[in-house]
């Protein structure tokens, strides 16, 4: 597979390590009243879509960017690659 890195251009998937569902960005608020339930869902419950999937890849052999890759799990077609940091900010994460 080839991942089109937003900063470095197309790179072989061999340079990356895979983590999983990009929902791991959405870490719950530790002070929420139902934090235990939220963290349980966050840690253990994932969708397993047959189709488009947003997932986290780490450019370990490269520039150490975490990327959010939108990949079709049926065809392996990659339709979007973003810096995870940008995605995280868009989803409201900060300090």
């Amino acid at each position: 597979m080839i991942i089109d890195h937003p900063l470095l251009g197309p790179r072989d998937a061999q340079e990356f390590t895979y983590l999983g569902d990009a929902s791991l960005i959405d870490r719950p608020d530790w002070q929420a009243t139902d934090a235990a339930e939220q963290f349980f869902d966050y840690q253990y419950l994932r969708d397993n879509p047959a189709g488009l999937h947003k997932e986290l890849w780490f450019h370990e052999m490269g520039d150490r960017s975490w990327l959010v890759v939108t990949r079709n799990t049926l065809t392996h077609e990659i339709t979007k690659v973003e810096l995870a940091r940008d995605v995280a900010r868009k989803r409201g994460r900060g300090k």
């Binding site: 963290f39 065809t75 077609e77 995870a84 900010r89 994460r93």
Partner: protein, 994 residues
């Protein structure tokens, strides 16, 4: 008597003679020959025995689809079993042996299996060798394995090297027949970067096997002309002897180039093979088609071949397996073979055509509506029986029979990404489906277009389509006039037309489908009778298509017969899944250079050479080689060395290389806030110049890693990780930094390899260090207390970092210098410590001392343990947000019955604690339900003069002083242990603070 089977013409170089040996006998051939063509020229048709019944077999094909003529090529360490004689290029001095036979090819003891064939049907092994189960491994399997055929590996190390390489192109053209050449030429002239890959050792594909002309040139000459043009173009890379073995995601193709297989040994500095990873923007599959046989009784005798293969041998290699040949066909292509053989002066006995309205032939008798129903000849064909309805059986003498059951487009690569082929009734074959790999076009016979003119025009069209995607303008290349015959076929799969049951046509005898695995029509019938309805089940049950040829000549016929028996359509039955590699591929080329010592290179610390000089024994730890212990003269057992190192360190001073621990530099205004997130305990209040133990959790609350982190400045921390987890911890921290808290102003970088670091431990460690640390730095206990850290200089001005931390439990320091000074520093430390008998110690002594001190390592941080299990539950801060803190509070991970880290020592000091053993309450039944915990670490403590251990025990913190039973059923041990504090040595920590 050796008959000369050479014909005129052909693409062989008669000016040179090559000599070779097969089964010890000397033969001659010419450059351009394959082993199979050269053997046929020498009247050798018998080249192997079948896998199961040990039936005599000769080549079926003239290409890589060959099921039968597989041999052991070369001798000694270069011996290569299961090599297809039909693709092995002849070279002077070639040696080959036949396989699956004992003692000789013409007389094989195991041929007795053939007489037992009524019992050895599909599923025989499954049904027969089921009981008793214990017999399988010791008795049945070894016998079956010995009886089974195929070649043997040499068991010697491969003396050759294999390489890997990477190529990029606009367009990859797979196959160099008419379609591939036309596509490559059009794309190349249009300015695309083109790679043309050809499995064969000459370009041209089927054009080399035909008599037809392209334009006013012979087909093979036209092909050579195109290759001349392409080879002069800078934007074209021609790769012959290169098989595309797999189509992978995003236009990536795997290719194996056989650089040296046609040589007796590789040229100096050259690899035997190269595994190429080809990155293509577009690709065109022009892999042609494979002719399929028709099954009939005893259709496996040497001399019975694909009709098209006979044509290849005659036209390209100027060789015929026999002087009198018959043709058995269901399509027009068989007639072309007859004409080509006649043109070469071979006697064609008859054309047996299953079609009632078979075309006439000007020179050969055509028996229409006829079938070949049996054959004769012990080690090779000498006659066939021809059946025609309502007419007497016809006996025809012939030394070879060309069989054509139609052509299967070579759809293999189009299916590597789960694409499924589609049935095309016009050619009675599967053609590529619509869901092939992205960017892959298909042209020529691979797409079911069988005429040469059709191949040329489809090649041009595919190139134009690819160029359009690439955004390149097409340069039109006029294509020459050539053969454009329609393809006319009547689907016909096997002679016993009546559901495969025995009838008058096949009174006895077996009709072979998969010749390498000895699968017959009857086996398919049996599978159906036993309700194996899916084609995938048929494959596994009968082993159809599971041999080294992967059923290239048998699969489609097998499933067609299955469809016929089941009364279903062929498309409804479907095909099994095609997977890479396309042809058998040497494991060596996948390994490349990654073998032996290069499989996973070791990392060496800067003082490795010094440790070698001390005679250190090394152990692998997270890719590093670390000194395990340093034996001294007279020490005969590792324990002697380790005990000495431990005692010397605790009594005076020892030194240990701790360079391999992971080091991560954390800097920035938010560095403290960041550490507070990744560590469960607090770091914000750590003073500059101080070090703190840090406990890192996974989000699920389990302990991930631990280490010390030193604060060297307001915004500067240096973290250490365990050796094995250094990479994973760094990845985790980058995840936290980029994905969870993207606005924290903090930077991290791994500095593991930038610093050489040594632990100096023992009551005299300060005295030794004072001789090395430059005098302006005060390292007295008052000025530089326990857990202090500082930037210092050593040996007159060399910058260094000093940490007062201790893993051994002694007064201890870790001193780090830039990597290039590591060797010099260890020598300086040893010299400075000479007065105190400083002793280098390895990881074994390190391990003993940390067990004596009750410090956890990977044995305890094993991925299933929490801070609470480790006795550090209170370290997990509840007043800040850190990874893992919420889920560590789960009910199931908390409560009185949790496992707690305890110390363990034998009640009787001659007994031994064994890591991995389980703990049971005395008097309880010994079973999993009553399990109380397990031993994680154990060693002999020379200080306590007893075996000791660490382990996890249910409610362990409340059971100090209890006696517990250690069970080790693997070693048959049962020992009584006393539960004690994990801190065996200096429980109050006075030595640390001395």
């Amino acid at each position: 008597m050796i008959r000369d089977n050479r014909l005129d013409g052909g693409l062989i170089d008669r000016s040179e003679t090559l000599s070779f040996r097969f089964d010890g006998k000397q033969y001659e051939g010419h450059p351009g020959d394959t082993l199979a063509s050269a053997l046929l020229a020498n009247d050798v048709r018998l080249m192997g025995r079948s896998f199961k019944y040990h039936r005599p077999r000769g080549p079926l094909s003239a290409g890589s689809e060959e099921p039968n003529a597989i041999v052991e090529l070369r001798d000694g360490a270069r011996r290569e079993p299961n090599t297809r004689a039909t693709t092995a290029e002849l070279y002077d001095g070639l040696t080959a042996k036949s396989q699956s036979r004992f003692p000789s090819l013409s007389f094989d003891f195991m041929a007795i299996n053939d007489l037992l064939s009524n019992f050895l049907t599909a599923g025989f092994y499954y049904k027969t060798f089921m009981w008793p189960a214990s017999f399988w491994e010791k008795i049945y399997e070894p016998i079956i394995r010995r009886a089974a055929g195929l070649g043997a590996v040499s068991h010697a190390e491969d003396p050759d090297v294999y390489d890997k390489g990477f190529l990029h192109c606009d367009l990859l053209v797979i196959g160099s027949g008419p379609a591939g050449l036309a596509a490559a030429q059009t794309a190349a002239r249009s300015g695309a970067e083109v790679i043309l890959a050809e499995e064969d050792f000459i370009f041209g594909g089927r054009l080399n096997a035909e008599r037809l002309s392209v334009g006013d040139a012979r087909g093979s000459d036209w092909a050579a002309g195109i290759i001349d043009e392409l080879s002069s173009m800078k934007n074209v890379r021609l790769m012959k002897r290169t098989t595309i073995i797999g189509a992978f995601d995003h236009g990536v193709y795997g290719a194996v180039e056989r650089v040296s297989d046609h040589l007796i040994t590789p040229d100096a500095g050259k690899p035997r093979q190269i595994l190429w990873r080809i990155y293509s923007k577009q690709a065109i599959l022009c892999a042609g088609a494979i002719e399929r046989p028709i099954a009939f009784a005893n259709n496996d005798r040497p001399g019975i071949m694909q009709a098209g293969a006979l044509r290849s041998y005659a036209n390209r290699w100027a060789v015929t397996p026999a002087q009198r040949i018959a043709i058995f066909t269901n399509n027009d292509d068989g007639h072309r073979t007859a004409s080509d053989l006649l043109a070469k002066g071979v006697d064609v006995a008859a054309i047996i055509d299953v079609r009632e309205s078979a075309p006439k032939h000007r020179h050969v008798e055509v028996l229409s509506g006829a079938t070949v129903c049996d054959s004769a000849g012990r080690l090779g064909l000498n006659s066939i029986e021809v059946y025609r309805p309502n007419r007497p059986m016809r006996h025809i003498k012939c030394g070879a029979l060309g069989v054509s059951g139609g052509w299967n487009p070579n759809v293999h690569l189009t299916c590597h990404q789960r694409g499924r082929p589609q049935w095309n009734a016009n050619i009675a074959a599967f053609v590529p489906g619509v869901t092939g790999p992205q960017g892959l076009h298909v042209a020529g016979a691979a797409n079911g277009i069988f005429s040469t003119a059709g191949a040329l025009s489809s090649g041009v069209e595919a190139a134009a389509a690819a160029l359009a995607v690439l955004g390149k303008k097409v340069t039109e290349v006029p294509q020459p006039e050539t053969e454009d015959a329609a393809f006319n076929i009547k689907p016909f799969w096997h002679v016993a037309a009546n559901s495969g049951e025995r009838n008058t046509v096949t009174p006895k005898g077996r009709a072979w489908l998969d010749q390498q695995n000895d699968v017959t029509v009857k086996d398919v019938v049996l599978a159906h009778q036993e309700n194996f309805q899916s084609v995938e089940h048929l494959k596994r049950y009968t082993t159809l298509g599971m041999a080294t040829d992967q059923g290239k000549t048998s699969n489609v016929s097998g499933l067609a017969i299955m469809a016929e028996i089941a009364g279903r359509d062929i498309p409804e039955i479907g095909t099994t899944i095609y997977r890479p590699p396309y042809t058998p591929t040497a494991i060596g080329v996948f390994a490349g250079r990654s073998r032996g010592a290069d499989f996973r290179p070791y990392r060496l610390t800067p003082s490795h050479k010094w440790a070698e000089e001390q005679g250190a024994i090394f152990v692998e730890a997270g890719n590093w080689l670390r000194a395990q212990w340093y034996p001294r003269e007279g020490e005969t057992h590792w324990r002697e060395s380790v005990d000495r190192e431990v005692l010397a360190t605790r009594r005076s001073v020892g030194v240990c290389d701790v360079t391999t621990l992971g080091k991560i530099d954390v800097q920035g205004p938010d560095a403290a806030a960041f550490l507070n997130k990744v560590y469960a305990n607090g770091f914000a209040k750590l003073a500059v110049g101080k070090t703190r133990y840090g406990l890192m959790l996974r989000e699920d609350g389990m302990v991930m890693d631990d280490g010390t982190t030193a604060r060297l400045g307001d915004n500067h921390y240096v973290m250490t990780t365990t050796t094995a987890n250094a990479v994973g911890v760094f990845r985790h921290m980058e995840f936290a930094r980029q994905c969870l808290w993207p606005d924290l102003d903090v930077q991290i970088i791994s500095t593991t390899e930038s610093w050489a670091q040594y632990a100096i431990a023992g009551p005299n460690s300060r005295a030794v260090l004072e001789k090395i640390i430059d005098p302006e730095f005060d390292i007295s206990n008052e000025a530089f207390g326990f857990m202090a850290c500082a930037n210092v200089t050593v040996c007159n001005g060399l910058r260094a970092r000093l940490f007062r931390i201790s893993f051994s439990g002694e007064l201890a320091y870790e001193l780090a210098v830039p990597t290039r000074y590591g060797d010099a520093l260890i020598r300086a430390i040893m010299e400075a410590g000479d007065d105190y008998d400083i002793t280098p110690y390895g990881v074994e002594a390190l391990g003993v001392m940390r067990i004596e001190k009750g410090h956890a390592t990977a044995n305890e941080l094993n991925g299933t343990t929490t801070a609470l299990n480790l006795g550090m539950g209170r370290m997990v801060s509840k007043t800040k947000d850190s990874i893992g803190s919420i889920l560590s509070e789960r009910t199931a991970l908390n409560g009185p019955d949790m496992l707690y880290l305890v110390g363990l020592k034998p009640v009787d000091s001659i007994d031994e604690v064994v890591a991995g053993s389980h703990l049971m309450t005395p008097g309880d039944p010994i079973n999993a339900a009553h399990d109380q915990g397990y031993v994680t670490s154990a060693c002999y403590s020379p200080n306590l003069e007893s075996s000791i251990g660490l382990g996890f025990l249910k409610n362990g913190q409340a059971r100090i002083g209890e006696t517990i039973k250690m069970m080790n059923p693997l070693e048959g041990r049962e020992v009584l242990l006393e539960v004690c504090s994990a801190h065996f040595v200096d429980p109050e920590g006075e030595r640390l603070r001395a």
